[in-house]
Amino acid sequence: MADKSMIGTPLGKGAAEVEKGRLRFFAKAIGETNPAYIDEAAARDAGHPGLPVPATFLVCLNSDVSAASGVDRMKVLQLDLGRILHAEQSFDYHRMAYAGDKLDFDTTLTDVYDKKGGALHFVVMTTRVTNQAGQHVADLRSTLVERRG
């Protein structure tokens, strides 16, 4: 388990390129029917320069970056994969991201706390996302809970 002294621990950073084939695969997986997320001409008609990164997809790119960063978050945070659940996820959006963008993800452990007398152990990770021009795209906040006992 993590403890409060670990708040501020870096949990990996790195870049991910937004590939349009991956965006189409994601669109299929979530049953997306809006053509602006699938077809480039429809995206342009909707005012986008390319296929937009859907609202929750940044979390996927972040897990790719995390996997490639060499930082094993489960190990650093001493969590058991079979006992963790995603408790909360939030997004603050500052600008859109599109296919072809190269996005940087920088994740830090920002909180650790327990509930129910330690039966539930929570860790909060915050990720700052910027694009290839250094512009702030979004902040992601993921809370994981480990079920104990």
Binding site: F25, F26, A29, I30, N34, A55, F57, A87, Q89, F91
Partner: protein, 139 residues
Amino acid sequence: MQAPRYDDLKVGDKLPALALPAINRTTLALYAGASGDHNPIHIDIDFARKSRMPDVFAHGMLSAAYLGRLLTNWVPQTELRNVAIRFTGITHLGNQPTCTGEIVEKFEADGEKRVKVAIQCRNQFGEDKLVGEATVALN
């Protein structure tokens, strides 16, 4: 897409609901591949059982993506300022998620007219699986 106008909306207005088909193993395999979330708890029944779960279950972020669709079916994504979601229950195989939203506040911030929307994803038994809020800017 024609975004709704701020002045035409009032607290209590509902977003057009988004009803999804039942979650099956293919849904989860596709989402695992597309999302890159390969946690075996969602795709490998043997691993799920070792983790004392009766079966695999849906990725929370799959339903979160459905909530994203609810919002971007309603307003262009460029107007989305914030989304905050709590995962309140496990979405099991056979669950049929429905995403709904209701305007709970109209306000101005950072020189923009914005609305706050309470969002939920429930299964066919009316059980909340995800609850949250989104903030959207409108003209």
